[in-house]
Amino acid sequence: MAVPMKLAAILLCAFTLFAANSFAAGGDIWKHPLKDSGSTAIDSTFSPMTAHAVVRGDFKQTKTIAQLNREFVSVGKFVIANDKGVLWDTEKPFASRLAISETRMVQQNANGSHSEISAKDNVVFAQIAKAIQSIFSGSTSKLQAGFHIFFDRRGSNWTIGLIPREASVKKAIQSIELTGGTWLERIKLIDGSGSPLLYELSNPKPGSGLTAEEKALLEK
C-alpha cells in the first residue's frame, strides 16, 4: 500500500504544482481556443469594464528588448471612452500622448510634435488601429473579426489570448494576452520582432466624461 500511496501523493503534488504554475503564468492560454459558446463568457468578462462610458486609470509600460538585455519602463494615465476610443498619456520618463479612434491615430509629444494618420488613407494603420481599439471595445464580435481568440477562466480570474488573423498585422503584433479579474489588469503584447510589451493597469475608476481636449483628440 505504501508504494501506491506514495505514488498518488507524488502525482497529486505534481498536478498541484502544474496547475499552480499554469495559473501563475496566465496558463498556456494558447491551448484554449474560444468555442462558439464561449463568446457569452467573454461578454460577461468585459461587462464590468464596459459598464461606464469613460474609465480612467494608471498604467505602467515595460518594453523588454532581449537583444539589448534592456527594459524600458514608462508610466502614465489612460482613458478608455467606450464608444470613442482610447487615450494614453505617457508622463515619465518622456511625456507623450497617443489617441486611437476608429478613424484616426494622433500622436503628440512634449516638443509639440504632432502627427496624425487617417484610417481611410492607410491600410496597414487601419488594421493595427482596429486591432488595438477592439481590445478596449469590449465587443467580442469586433475582437473576433480581427483575431483568433483564446479564453480561459479560473474562478474570478481570466485570460484572453489574441492572435491577429491578418498576416500584415501579425508582422507588427504577434500576439496579445489580456489578464484580469473584475477589471483588465495586464496586457502583454508580443511585437513583430518578438519583444514583449507589458502594460500593467491600475486604479481604474469611472470617469465623469471626456475633457474638451480629449474630445478633440478622439471625436474628429
Binding site: 498604467f59 509600460q61 518594453k63 528588448i65 537583444q67 539589448l68 534592456r70 524600458f72 514608462s74 502614465g76 489612460f78 494614453w88 505617457t90 520618463p93 518622456f94 507623450s96 497617443l98 486611437i100 500622436q107 509629444n109 512634449a110 516638443n111 510634435s113 494618420i117 481611410k120 488613407d121 492607410n122 491600410v123 496597414v124 494603420f125 487601419a126 488594421q127 493595427i128 488595438i132 488573423r165 491578418e166 498576416a167 500584415s168 508582422k171 507588427a172 503584433i173 503584447l189 511585437d191 513583430g192 520582432s193 519583444s195 510589451l197
Partner: protein, 764 residues
C-alpha cells in the same frame, strides 16, 4: 522601269517602320514631342495592366471564387506577372531595406527639423517617443547602432504615410479587399506580356481572361466581377472592328468584283486594275519610307484609301477599251482619255501639294504618299496599258446603254426656263445652309471610341471600389542623366506640395519619394552627421548605454541609392511606372497626381519648371486633330479655287465653273448632312471630303471629256462610283466611329459627285 525602281527602293527602305504614335500627329512646335518616346514607354507600362475585382456579400465565397480565378490564370505564359496574395515577407523586406538606407530615406521634413540649434533635441524627442510612448511598435533592437531610430522613421514613411496606400483597399486573409454596397471585393491584378498583340487575335490571353470571368459567374452564383484596364478596351474594340470590317470588306469587295466581272465578262481588266492599285501602293510606300524613314498608321489608312481612286483611271481606260464601238487598241484609248485623266490627275495632285503646306508633318507625309500613289496609277494607265491590243470581243450590250441614260437624266432641267434654272440650284444650296450652320468642326478622341455598356459599367464599379485615384494626366520629367531627372523632380515637388495644400489633388507619386537625388541624399546625410554625431554619446549614456561606437561606425555605411538599385517588391510596381529610365540618351520619370480635384490647375504647376512636361494626351491630340481638320477645310477651299483657276484657261470661265461645282457641291453636301445629323465634322470626315474632291473632279472631267463617247464614259463613271461606294461607302455601316464617319463622308461625297457629274457634259 520606274516601277521596278520603286520596288527596289521599297526593298532598300527596310526596316519598314510603321509609326503608331499619336504624338506624331502633333504640330512640329508642340513641346510634348520632346517627351513622346517617354510617354510611349509610360503608356506601355500602364496599358498592360489588368484589374479584376471578385465580390460577394460573403467574403469566404468571394475568396473561393477569386482563388479559383487565380489558379486558372496565374500560370498563363502571356501574363507577365500576376498579383493576388500579399507576400508575408513583403513588410519585412521593406523594413530591412529602409533600415539599411535610413540616412537616405528620412524625408525632407525630418532632415529640415534637424537643422538649427534644436536639431539634436528634436531627434532625441522623436526617438524617446518611440521608446517610451504607448503602443509604439518600433523595433528597438538596433538602438545602440541607431539610437535616434532613424530606421523606424524611414520605415513608417513607406508604410504608415505612403501615398501608395491612399486608396480604399485594405488587407484580409493576405488579399487586397475593398467593400462596396454590402459586398466585399477581392482584387486580382496582372500585367499582360508586352509581346502580346494589342488587338484581338486567335488565342489572345484576354480571351482566356474573359472565359474565366464567364466561368466564375456560372461556378459561383451571385458573384460580382468587375474588370478594368486598357487591354480590355483594346481587345473589345479591335475584336468588334475586325469582325465588322472583315464582313463589310468581304461583302463589298465581292459585290464590286461581281459587278466588274458582270460588266467586263473577262478577268483581264480586273487583274490589270488590281495590279495598277498594287503598284501604286508599293510606290507610295517606297518613297515615303525612303524620305520619312517610317510611315504613320494614319497615312497608311488614309493614303491607301486615296489610292483607291486611282482605280478610276484603270476603269475609265478599260471601259473605253472594251465597250467603245471604235474598238481602239491601248494606244487609241490613251489618246481618247488622256486629257480628262491628265487634268484630273494634275488637279488632284495640286490638292495634295496644298496639304504639304500645313505645319503638320503628318499631313506632308500623307500628301507625299497619296501624290506618289496617284502618279504611279497614272503611269500604269498611260504607259503600261497602252500596250494592250484591241479587245477581241467588243461588247455593246445593255450596260453602256443603261449607263448612258445617266447622261440624259438632267435633260428635263435644261428644258426649264432660265429663272427656274437658276432658282432650282439656289434652292438646293439654301437647303444645305441649316446643316452648314450647325456644323461642328471638332475631333474629340473621346467621341471616336464608344465603350460597350457592360465594360463601362464594369470600369465604373472598379474605379469606385478601388479608387486608385489616377487620372489620364501626369507630368514627365526629362533630364540629361538619372541624377539630373531626380534633381529636377525634387525642384518640381515643391510645386506639387503646394498643389496638395491647395487641394488641387489629394496626393501624388514621384520617384524621388523612393529615390532622392544623390545630391539630396548627400546633403541630408551631411546634416544628419553634423547634428547627431556629436550628440549620440550623451544621448546613449542617458539611455544607459556605454558608448556610441556602433552609431559612429554606422555613419560610415552610408551609400546613396540610385534608381537602378533592387527595391522591395512592394515598391516595384510603382517604380516601374514612375521611373522610365534612359531613352535615346535622355532620362525620364513621371509624377502622378492622385485623386485630382481641380484638373484645370494641373498644367500651371509645370510652368517655369525646367524639364517638366504636363501630359494630358487625349485633349492634346484632340486639339491637334481639330486644328488639322480646320486647316484641311481651308486647304480644300484653296485647292478648289486653284483648280478653278487652272480650268479657266483650259476651257472657259463658264465651263470651269461647271466642272468645279461638282466637287464643291459634294463637299458642301457632306458637311451639310453631318451638320444636320449632329455628327462632328472631324478629321476622318474631312479626309473623306478630300478623297471625294479627287473623285468629283475626275467624274466631272471624264463627263466633260467623254465627248461623243457618252455611253462608255457614263459606264466608266457608273462603275467607278459603284466600286467606290461599295468599297468605302459600305464602311458607313461600321459601329467603329472613325470608320463610320470616313465611310459616310465618302458615301455622300461620291453619290453627290456621281449624281451631279452628268451636268458637266457638253450639250449640243
Amino acid at each position: 522601269m520606274v516601277h521596278i525602281a520603286m520596288l527596289a527602293l521599297a526593298l532598300c527602305a527596310r526596316p519598314w517602320n510603321i509609326d503608331t504614335s499619336l504624338y506624331s500627329i502633333l504640330p512640329t512646335a508642340s513641346s510634348l514631342k520632346d517627351v513622346s518616346e517617354a510617354e510611349k514607354r509610360m503608356s506601355e507600362q500602364t496599358m498592360n495592366q489588368l484589374n479584376i475585382l471578385v465580390g460577394h456579400e460573403d467574403f469566404q465565397t468571394a475568396r473561393k471564387a477569386a482563388d479559383w480565378f487565380d489558379s486558372t490564370l496565374k500560370d498563363d505564359s502571356r501574363l507577365e506577372s500576376v498579383r493576388y496574395t500579399i507576400s508575408d515577407g513583403a513588410l519585412e523586406e521593406t523594413a530591412n531595406y529602409t533600415y539599411r538606407h535610413r540616412f537616405s530615406l528620412l524625408g525632407d521634413d525630418y532632415v529640415q527639423a534637424l537643422t538649427g540649434t534644436a536639431g539634436a533635441q528634436f531627434a532625441r524627442d522623436e526617438a524617446l517617443q518611440r521608446i517610451y510612448g504607448a503602443f509604439s511598435l518600433s523595433d528597438l533592437s538596433h538602438l545602440e547602432e541607431d539610437p535616434y531610430l532613424l530606421g523606424a522613421r524611414a520605415f513608417d514613411r513607406f508604410t504608415v504615410y505612403s501615398p501608395l496606400l491612399s486608396n480604399k483597399l485594405s488587407i484580409k486573409d493576405s488579399r487586397l479587399v475593398a467593400n462596396d454596397s454590402a459586398k466585399t471585393y477581392i482584387l486580382w491584378s496582372a500585367r499582360v506580356h508586352p509581346d502580346e498583340k494589342g488587338i484581338a487575335s486567335e488565342g489572345h490571353v484576354l480571351e482566356r481572361v474573359n472565359a474565366a470571368i464567364d466561368s466564375i459567374n456560372m461556378r459561383y452564383p451571385g458573384i460580382s466581377v468587375a474588370k478594368s484596364g486598357v487591354p480590355f478596351h483594346s481587345f473589345e474594340s479591335s475584336k468588334n472592328a475586325q469582325t465588322e470590317i472583315t464582313w463589310i470588306s468581304a461583302i463589298s469587295i465581292t459585290l464590286a468584283l461581281v459587278l466588274l466581272i458582270a460588266v467586263f465578262r473577262t478577268p483581264i481588266p480586273i487583274a490589270s486594275t488590281l495590279s495598277s492599285v498594287f503598284m501604286a501602293i508599293v510606290s507610295a510606300l517606297a518613297l515615303t519610307w525612303s524620305l520619312f524613314g517610317e510611315i504613320h498608321m494614319f497615312t497608311l489608312v488614309f493614303g491607301t484609301s486615296i489610292i483607291g481612286i486611282s482605280i478610276d483611271y484603270a476603269i475609265h481606260f478599260f471601259t473605253d477599251w472594251k465597250f467603245s464601238s471604235e474598238n481602239p487598241d491601248g494606244n487609241g484609248v490613251r489618246k481618247r482619255i488622256l486629257k480628262g485623266i491628265l487634268l484630273g490627275f494634275m488637279t488632284t495632285e495640286l490638292g495634295y501639294i496644298a496639304l504639304s503646306v500645313a505645319p503638320f508633318p503628318l499631313l506632308r507625309q500623307m500628301a507625299l504618299f497619296s501624290a506618289t500613289g496617284l502618279a504611279s496609277a497614272l503611269c500604269t494607265t498611260l504607259f503600261l496599258f497602252q500596250a494592250f491590243p484591241k479587245a477581241t470581243h467588243v461588247r455593246a450590250g445593255r450596260a453602256p446603254h443603261l449607263a448612258a441614260s445617266l447622261s440624259h437624266m438632267y435633260d428635263w432641267y435644261y428644258r426649264l426656263r432660265r429663272p427656274l434654272k437658276i432658282a432650282l440650284p439656289v434652292m438646293l444650296c439654301a437647303l444645305a445652309v441649316p446643316g452648314l450652320i450647325r456644323l461642328n468642326v471638332q475631333t474629340d478622341l473621346h467621341n471616336l471610341y464608344t465603350v460597350s455598356d457592360s465594360l463601362k459599367k464594369s470600369e465604373t464599379l472598379a474605379n469606385k471600389v478601388i479608387d486608385f485615384g489616377t487620372s489620364g494626366s501626369y507630368y514627365i520629367v526629362k533630364g540629361a542623366s538619372a541624377e539630373d531627372v531626380l534633381q529636377k523632380e525634387e525642384s518640381f515637388i515643391h510645386k506639387m506640395e503646394q498643389g496638395k495644400k491647395d487641394s488641387v489633388f489629394r496626393n501624388y507619386l514621384a520617384v524621388s519619394y523612393f529615390v532622392p537625388s544623390k545630391k539630396r541624399q548627400e546633403e541630408s546625410f551631411a546634416i544628419i552627421k553634423q547634428t547627431l554625431q556629436g550628440d549620440a554619446a550623451t544621448f546613449l549614456k542617458s539611455q544607459k548605454f556605454d558608448n556610441d561606437s556602433l552609431f559612429q561606425k554606422s555613419l560610415e555605411s552610408f551609400r546613396p541609392i540610385t534608381p537602378e538599385d533592387t527595391f522591395p517588391s512592394d515598391w516595384q510596381t510603382a517604380l516601374q511606372t514612375l521611373w522610365l529610365g534612359e531613352i535615346d540618351g535622355a532620362y525620364y520619370s513621371t509624377v502622378l497626381p492622385l485623386h485630382v480635384n481641380d484638373a484645370s490647375a494641373l498644367p500651371g504647376l509645370a510652368n517655369g519648371c525646367e524639364g517638366v512636361y504636363f501630359v494630358n494626351k487625349v485633349p492634346e491630340i484632340s486639339r491637334s486633330l481639330t486644328e488639322i481638320s480646320r486647316i484641311l477645310i481651308v486647304l480644300v477651299a484653296i485647292t478648289n479655287l486653284l483648280m478653278f483657276a487652272i480650268f479657266i484657261p483650259v476651257y472657259d470661265l463658264k465651263t470651269a465653273f461647271r466642272i468645279i461645282r461638282i466637287p464643291v457641291c459634294a463637299g458642301i453636301a457632306v458637311a451639310s448632312v453631318f451638320g444636320l445629323a449632329g455628327i462632328d465634322f472631324n478629321f476622318f470626315a474631312i479626309a473623306g471630303v478630300i478623297l471625294t474632291l479627287g473623285i468629283g473632279i475626275d467624274y466631272s472631267l471624264f463627263f466633260r471629256e467623254g465627248g461623243g463617247h457618252v455611253s462608255t464614259t457614263a459606264l466608266a463613271i457608273a462603275l467607278s462610283a459603284a466600286t467606290t461606294i461599295l468599297s468605302f461607302g459600305s464602311l458607313s455601316f461600321s459601329q467603329f466611329q472613325p470608320v463610320y464617319v470616313f465611310g459616310l463622308s465618302i458615301f455622300i461625297g461620291t453619290l453627290t459627285s456621281f449624281l451631279l457629274s452628268p451636268l458637266t457634259q457638253k450639250r449640243k
